[in-house]
Amino acid sequence: MALPFQDAAANRRAFLGLAGLSALAVAGCTSTPKGGGTSTDVNKIDAILPKFKALEVGKPDILVPPPAASGYLSYPSSLVDAITDKPGKGGGVIKVTTLNWGTVPPGLGSNKYLGSINTELGVDMDFSINDGNTYADKLTAILGARDITDVLVAPSWNTNIPRFPDAVQTLFEDLTEYLKGDAVLKYPMLASFPKEAWQGSVWGGKLAAVPFVNDNPFAWALFYRKDILDAAGLGPAKTADELYQLGKKITKPDQGVWAFSDITDYVQMIFKVPGAKGGWRVEGGKIVNKIETPEFMAALEFLVKIFKEGLVHPDLVGSKGADASQLFNSGKIVVQQNGLGAWQSALREQLKINANYKIQPMKVFSHDGSASPLVWGSADPIFYTFIKKGLGKARTEEILACLNWCAAPFGTKEWELRQYGVEGVHFTRGTDNVPKTNDLYNNEYANQFTFLSGRNAAVTGGSDTPNYVQDYTTWTKDAVKYLEPNPWAGVRTEDPVKLSQLNTPTQDLIKDVVRGRRPLSDWPTIVADWKKNGGDEGRDFYAKALPN
């Protein structure tokens, strides 16, 4: 039906048009977009920081070196009423954009947890909760469209997206006058945040956000189903080879059981691949990216092996839509790379379904079992809470007062209400005073006020998560010793556009090699291309950003 020649003629014309266009570009009638890339050393900003004033409420039982959180073994029998005034001044609904990893809870009006806190606040906070895994994409869209709510929470690992500093200047209120020096004493809970946390909240020489104090500096933990390994007579791995052997023994496709989730990041940690600022380190004065290191090659080799031998669950290999945590909880995978933050809630929920459910993170180890493993992490604040620009002084103060309420520490009535909801509705109190949450809580609680609060969560728990506090602090006490030092600590960076554009293609190539679509021997070529296409530009950028 179609005449091939006619089509070809049209295509040739189109092609010539394009070629002409390129020629025009080369002839210099045109310039390419600017490359971006900024860095600020926030160590040098002291004058605008809020004054620190400690709060004396409760002492932890298990001390863990900061920035990791200490643990509380017992729950106070009487709680302090820390805030007696209602922060709300009748300013109407405060709309909040936040994130969570999990199902979306019922909204304002049909959620008793929100309702009871809003009554306490004296003003309604209404949440729009986004999927934490894809939040960066959502964030670029809403910031670009300037379609922001009164309050917006952004995790620190999403703040290096291109033009984020521009967005902060344009869209969010400058909080310096509200919080610097003694001004912060109006908000005593916020005044108890450490100086380092506030340093992280400075953009363009202004205090732009309320920080979430980091209590979980660890990027990843390698969780395993202790109940399943115990039943098989196996223990956690202490070397890379043991991990591989464990995977071989536990994978049984005919029973629908596979060993691993996609553990690409954690395996890099095992092989001591650098992780600071997305994978850079300083080697004798030279800046090196992780993909150029021999450690990375070794990690790739290991990953190729476990993917090739089918030790990773095929659903996770097959689609982005598959849920690793679900497979882990149902015992279809036995070892999962996950954040520590998921531990307690998974334990609490799964114990209700399966009384034998036991999970533990493997004690951190290095590939050869040597005494000095490497742990990826960051001491930056976990989240930043921004307030929309131009809401007016009264409204901004009202919102800050609400944030102050949310930031009440462990041992106060406000903390309990924020963390567990209402007694008799969301939890019952055991003999040890510890709140034991119910299904309504699981359904309604999605870290709404918690991620806003800035207050590091106290590591505490009762009979609904037995032994959690001890297990958690045992792991963190050990792991905190091996946290990778960050040469760029305290330097806020926005990657050059070329480097951030290189990000997805590089991830794609890593996946291609790991999943056996390209041979490992291609890696040097890939690295050479990477250098040419913006990698070297990134190296120069990080060299310049390095504090002397």
Binding site: T32, G144, T170, V317, S319, K320
Partner: protein
């Protein structure tokens, strides 16, 4: 005049004509009164086109700017305050081998689906048309339309649960001692996989227009042909297919105009499974390189490129169709 409007005009002419009015004005008013319901019916569609197609088209000038969304007092103002950089975005785009790889993948998938997807709804419509029982036909139509309303996440998950390594077929085969071939994460066979998924999802939906065209064929033609001794195949070849040929050509031309869009979610979801080398299409490229990195200028340039290529393909295909005596999408 497009063929569509000629047809409409034809039906209008068949109505009782209003009495000729001497004054222009009152004639216009009479026509307005007569056509008001028709106009009202098209208002929502026209509004939709205006709001979601024509208005955003104005934004294409961003392709020639170094767009910084945070300039000025609003996102609209930022569009005008950003620097003009001529063809800089296009230069970056055309220099990027990943862009051409995405274009290649997209065109490859389009060409493949033109051969292996496009004819399937026609065949299915012919089959459906031959079912005489109205109830059975309605039931089959209901069932095959249904997947069109599933989201891609569901469709991909469904395929994974059937054909994946932990899926129904894999377990069944394992029980009898066989190995399931790798279907879900094999870049070499990815094009078959996405086409099968697309067929499963949309083949039923695709039959609707063809069924409508089939029902407009004059039944007496079949009777006459049968009386003359024409068999089933001859009737198909000489009556049915020529009867729906204008519709086939029309849809084919429109499909060619969309040659550079093959969908987004389907490829986004399965990208890691088969790698960017096989699954990166133009729309996902724009997403990763334009939107996720706030490079809206590049995104707009890629979109404009897509539009221009689509237009050229439509023009070319339309011309070819007219050479063959078809009406095509429009005529001069």
């Amino acid at each position: 005049m497009t063929s569509e409007s000629t047809k409409v005009a034809g039906t209008v002419a068949a109505r009782p004509r209003p009495r000729p009015m001497p004054a222009m004005r009152s004639r216009w008013r009479a026509r307005w009164r007569r056509d008001l319901p028709l106009v009202l019916m098209t208002v929502p569609a026209a509004g939709f086109l205006l709001l979601f197609h024509y208005l955003p088209t104005l934004g294409n000038f961003l392709a020639f700017k170094d767009y910084n969304p945070f300039l000025g007092d609003s996102a609209i103002e930022a569009m005008f305050l950003s620097d003009w950089i001529g063809f800089g975005n296009f230069q970056l785009l055309f220099e990027d081998p990943l862009f051409w790889s995405a274009v290649r993948n997209t065109l490859g998938i389009t060409a493949f689906q033109l051969v292996f997807f496009f004819p399937v709804p026609i065949a299915l419509a012919l089959l459906l048309n031959s079912i005489l029982s109205q109830r059975l036909r309605g039931l089959v139509q209901g069932i095959i339309y249904l997947p069109h309303f599933f989201s891609w996440v569901l469709v991909v998950t469904f395929f994974l649960m059937m054909l994946g390594g932990d899926g129904l077929f894999a377990h069944t085969l394992r029980d009898v001692g066989l190995r399931m071939p790798n279907v879900m994460s094999n870049p070499d066979t990815f094009i078959y996989l996405v086409t099968s998924e697309a067929v499963w999802k949309d083949v039923g939906w695709g039959t609707i227009i063809f069924l409508a065209a089939l029902s407009s064929i004059d039944f007496s033609l079949y009777e006459a042909a049968a009386a003359d001794g024409a068999g089933r195949w001859r009737r198909l070849w000489h009556i049915t297919l020529p009867g729906i040929r204008p519709v086939i050509v029309l849809l084919l031309i429109l499909r060619l105009g969309d040659a550079l869009s093959v969908g987004f979610e389907q490829f986004f979801l399965q990208r890691d499974a088969v790698g960017a080398g096989a699954a990166e299409v133009l729309d996902t490229y724009v997403y990763w390189q334009g939107i996720a990195t706030q490079n809206y200028g590049i995104g707009a340039a890629a979109g404009l490129f897509k539009g221009v290529v689509g237009l050229l393909l439509i023009l070319a295909a339309n011309r070819v169709a007219q050479r063959f005596g078809e009406q095509g999408v429009y005529s001069r």
